[in-house]
Symmetry: D2
Subunit: 367 residues, 4 copies
Amino acid sequence: MASSLGVLFRVATWGESHGGGVGVVVDGCPPRLPISLEGIQFELDRRRPGQSSLVTQRKESDHVEILSGVQDGLALGTPIAMLVRNEDARSRDYDEMREKFRPSHADFAYDEKYGIRAWSGGGRASARETIGRVAAGAIAKQVLRCFGVEVLAWVDQIQHLQASVNSDTVSLAQIEATPVRCPDPAMAEQMIAHIEAIRKAGNSVGGVVSCVARGVPAGWGEPVFDKLEADLGKAVLSLPACKGFEVGSGFAGTLLTGLEHNDAYRADEQGGVFTPTNRSGGIQGGISNGMPILLRAAFKPTATVMHEQDTVTTKHENTTLQGRGRHDACVLPRAVPMVEAMVALVLADHALRQAALRSVNVDGIQC
Amino acid sequence: MASSLGVLFRVATWGESHGGGVGVVVDGCPPRLPISLEGIQFELDRRRPGQSSLVTQRKESDHVEILSGVQDGLALGTPIAMLVRNEDARSRDYDEMREKFRPSHADFAYDEKYGIRAWSGGGRASARETIGRVAAGAIAKQVLRCFGVEVLAWVDQIQHLQASVNSDTVSLAQIEATPVRCPDPAMAEQMIAHIEAIRKAGNSVGGVVSCVARGVPAGWGEPVFDKLEADLGKAVLSLPACKGFEVGSGFAGTLLTGLEHNDAYRADEQGGVFTPTNRSGGIQGGISNGMPILLRAAFKPTATVMHEQDTVTTKHENTTLQGRGRHDACVLPRAVPMVEAMVALVLADHALRQAALRSVNVDGIQC
Amino acid sequence: MASSLGVLFRVATWGESHGGGVGVVVDGCPPRLPISLEGIQFELDRRRPGQSSLVTQRKESDHVEILSGVQDGLALGTPIAMLVRNEDARSRDYDEMREKFRPSHADFAYDEKYGIRAWSGGGRASARETIGRVAAGAIAKQVLRCFGVEVLAWVDQIQHLQASVNSDTVSLAQIEATPVRCPDPAMAEQMIAHIEAIRKAGNSVGGVVSCVARGVPAGWGEPVFDKLEADLGKAVLSLPACKGFEVGSGFAGTLLTGLEHNDAYRADEQGGVFTPTNRSGGIQGGISNGMPILLRAAFKPTATVMHEQDTVTTKHENTTLQGRGRHDACVLPRAVPMVEAMVALVLADHALRQAALRSVNVDGIQC
Amino acid sequence: MASSLGVLFRVATWGESHGGGVGVVVDGCPPRLPISLEGIQFELDRRRPGQSSLVTQRKESDHVEILSGVQDGLALGTPIAMLVRNEDARSRDYDEMREKFRPSHADFAYDEKYGIRAWSGGGRASARETIGRVAAGAIAKQVLRCFGVEVLAWVDQIQHLQASVNSDTVSLAQIEATPVRCPDPAMAEQMIAHIEAIRKAGNSVGGVVSCVARGVPAGWGEPVFDKLEADLGKAVLSLPACKGFEVGSGFAGTLLTGLEHNDAYRADEQGGVFTPTNRSGGIQGGISNGMPILLRAAFKPTATVMHEQDTVTTKHENTTLQGRGRHDACVLPRAVPMVEAMVALVLADHALRQAALRSVNVDGIQC
């Protein structure tokens, strides 16, 4: 199913930007897991437009309704359906888009694929589609709490501005301390100023979101196509505007030799094993090794800019289009909860898959 | 299924490095597609150990046998099973690995995951697993020929050595001209010398493989989780040693502003649409836009080095391990056909998915 | 995903009987297919409680809202989400069920599976779950119209009362002519009288629904696990209270010899092929052969009866339970649109799968 | 994937009757499960042609080779690939089938589906395809032993000859006591005589296989589309020649009223729950209830008969075809291990799915 993800902990999203609403179905949630509406709303508020002057001013309260699968605050084990109604859909802002393709947006590709397009508000290519992901991700985070796993993402780079963050100690409070969600306070200030300036210039910028998953035990993941880094990569690359993904040393690791790059194993005093370095990013051969999982995601600058640009009409004639409407000059602050959600969804799924694999007591069985 | 990939054009691999053999089942191949044993063997020979002094000297002829699904050179539409026997498995080279985990290899993670491990030859984490992928990829390439699509990959960077290649014109002959599979002749020479020197030093290096898919029509891909870049990313990141993936402008694109980054649309004289720039890498909103698909994959330096390294025993005691055995000082030349295969598998699957979506004539149907 | 069905035309339902509502997501609908809210509501009204004195008197208008995937009456090709709110949920009728398991209901099994149970209204085991199936089935029927396929089901047997119906000519109007949905008018009258008598006695009865799919071309289905009869069987057996399924000659066919049972092929005057008999039920080796597809489904008598029965408490102590509440004395009339929906869902999926398989032009391709 | 089955314990078969061989890949086997080549061969020998005068005399030793996934008799947790070579393929017996469709065989449907057909030996529609199922089923049975579950099937009816068997006590030894695999000795004798007579007359017969799964705990299965009876039905109906499936009371249950049909719950002395009757067949609402699972499968008479029959040529002209070759006059004795295998595959998959669902300790987790 094109709009679903996961094997055991499985999500399916639906909804267009200007239709009746957007939503998600979460299937495979462990029964009796505590489900908190407030916890889900907290994550949605981190993703919400209008939360600060840095992001789009579209007014959406994004109140979520749980339609099924929960009774008295506990998961029933059946599908959890969640719905967020669309409110501030100004279709008239999009009238021109009916006839013209916005450059570097998905309009043209959708038209070619489907022969029809929800031209208003970007349809399903709108960032509103990620509401379902973030709501589902909040439940995935709750599953991960059962395993002692915490997932945190932050803005690591805005255009040329690079933060310095310790992934072993970074906290949610530090990330949420500024609207740009960069836990390096000095750099956060510069980033905010830069995004404001870019916004005033009608331009846009991109950057890099970093993410750590702490507490993942060794053994999650699969050895071949569903390698943990492959599933994480797919999930993160499926976010709007994401153009790159790396785990551990990533592209920078290609500049090292094997002797420099390898992570030695060492025994700790409790009989456990660790690697003093973590260039593997917590994954080896597709399977977690017990070290923190580290990954980075590149987001291109927002395609909508407040300038006139060359484009074509839906009849394939050259024209120009003047950007207007309410848009993010930089998606990175809102991408932080999205990256966390996608990473949590993948980890929750693999947590259950590994639990299944080892749940059978094969000892004492005779052939 | 942990070891399978794809929705309509679907592959499943099996096999350990030192077991009875390795293989693949390809399900969903269009019936009556010409299947050439020579074409499959050609790709396997590009992946084969011992093909040049640059790569591991393990002696494997890697002759493939087609066990099913083909009759008189034509696909039957039923599963195509292919088998390659293991020949030169020197398990004694691995005796020490029975008791010690090789640093930055998958040994430790497998042990934690399964509680058992094919310690000899790396088991399923061996590069031999990719034989099935490359064999299946040869069939996927044949499917893509029906659509006029060509997939080519090449070595773009070895450690600090960066090639200069025109993705619009690069050819298979240029890629195959040198054993390092870098179509920039001057840089290829430097790369070969560098790999030889690194090999003699018992060390290893990584680098970047670039790939282009030319001729992909607009409309392939899906808008949400199965975005084309997401599925390509997953497939490529599932290759051994791959730590990073980017499409189009990738990480470098985060340094541009939106005005600099956007790809303007222009009409061509045949009523078509193109973008003079291609920072999108041929994909917008998860769907191909008719431009060449461009991607890059980062491979870490080979984990096996001919030096003594710190590690732990299977009983979690500190020890050291002296690297030995036959290994690639650099996997990049052999990774080229692997990247092509993974890209071809994903594109063939999405080609069929799009064909299905638009195969139904909905015009003239009444509600 | 436990609550989804299909490969290309894919549905996922959600919702409990007494929660916020029930719904369905339909993914993979061909873009630009006309979608009629009235057409969907028509099918839901055939399934609705309170439609006649024969069925449960729970008052639910079952008005469906389309939340996404449709624009100006045409499918966008993206997921179509549909929602029906629950209205007349009398949880107090179920208070006793909180502590006691209803015999031959799913209460006990749910409790054992999940360790938690939506005790009110039967939760997800309620027939309300089938609303999503029927709504999705209405869209599947629309897809099938593109292929000239019509799916019709009817009540063929109520307990010992067996109708006589010609599957080649039976029409929707004949089926809908009576509230029992048996197109044999004389037998329909007897069935209605029998159900009324059974209902007055506080008892219940089951029976058999027959179904024909006319116009299915040869070639739909798959040869091994996803045989057409296997997927149809699974879909129909997944309906509440269904205990048996047969295709073509079914169980009765086991009484014939091969010479008696075989369907001879004959050429027709247009160069086509048909079988004068149709004991195969339109499917051979898992693949449709162009003849009408014929199947039958056995539904057990409704488990809820208005009598005191032996059962146990949730603490596993013996007790008795007096049946009460509003229930169907016979589910068969309402099962008719459900069977049609399930058959339509499977056929629409296989229609798209076969379209994909043969959509690639393999001729002229060289190895 | 058309040729695969299962979610966590997953099998994919491949192979044509007269190609290089047939095989199966089993993915998701719990690691360290003891795997016995002899145990697998035992099941294959029960399925093998030539095992008695009752079945086809094609000479195949059906020796299985395990190619991967097993080390020193223990499962590695990676895919287990198994191969059986074809030996006694007399393609010349099939020369006429190249031009003519055998009545009630899959030849015509395959031709229409694929536009190409492995005309020799029935290709993938041959009963040889079930070798992979039976081999995989042997491993599934081993998984089920970890849960204390035993699966037994037997011939319950041959044409009009109906056996009397106690499903609570029937044993493998009783089933294997006669070549017809009917554990009712008197009836077995009659059945053997009847099949011999039918074979001599060049005719064929069908019948019913019954199956019991004893020891299945309550809680296996899913509540909606993947109901346990639905998945069992699909698996069994996917066997060649199977035309009907019923669970528990099945079609006969439609003749009872609800008061007669309901299974009362009773507490046993160990705090457990049972039902003195078992018309539910061990499944309620798609989920096992701890009672033995009971099902029946109808197999049509073999299509190949040694008589001249009406048919058409591949050019759609009327002709006749004289049956010849080596075939089963009755498939039922060989269908017994096939039914057991399919039931075991489904139960092993659901065992792992339920283990996953309940493997997470959700207690003590805070929202």
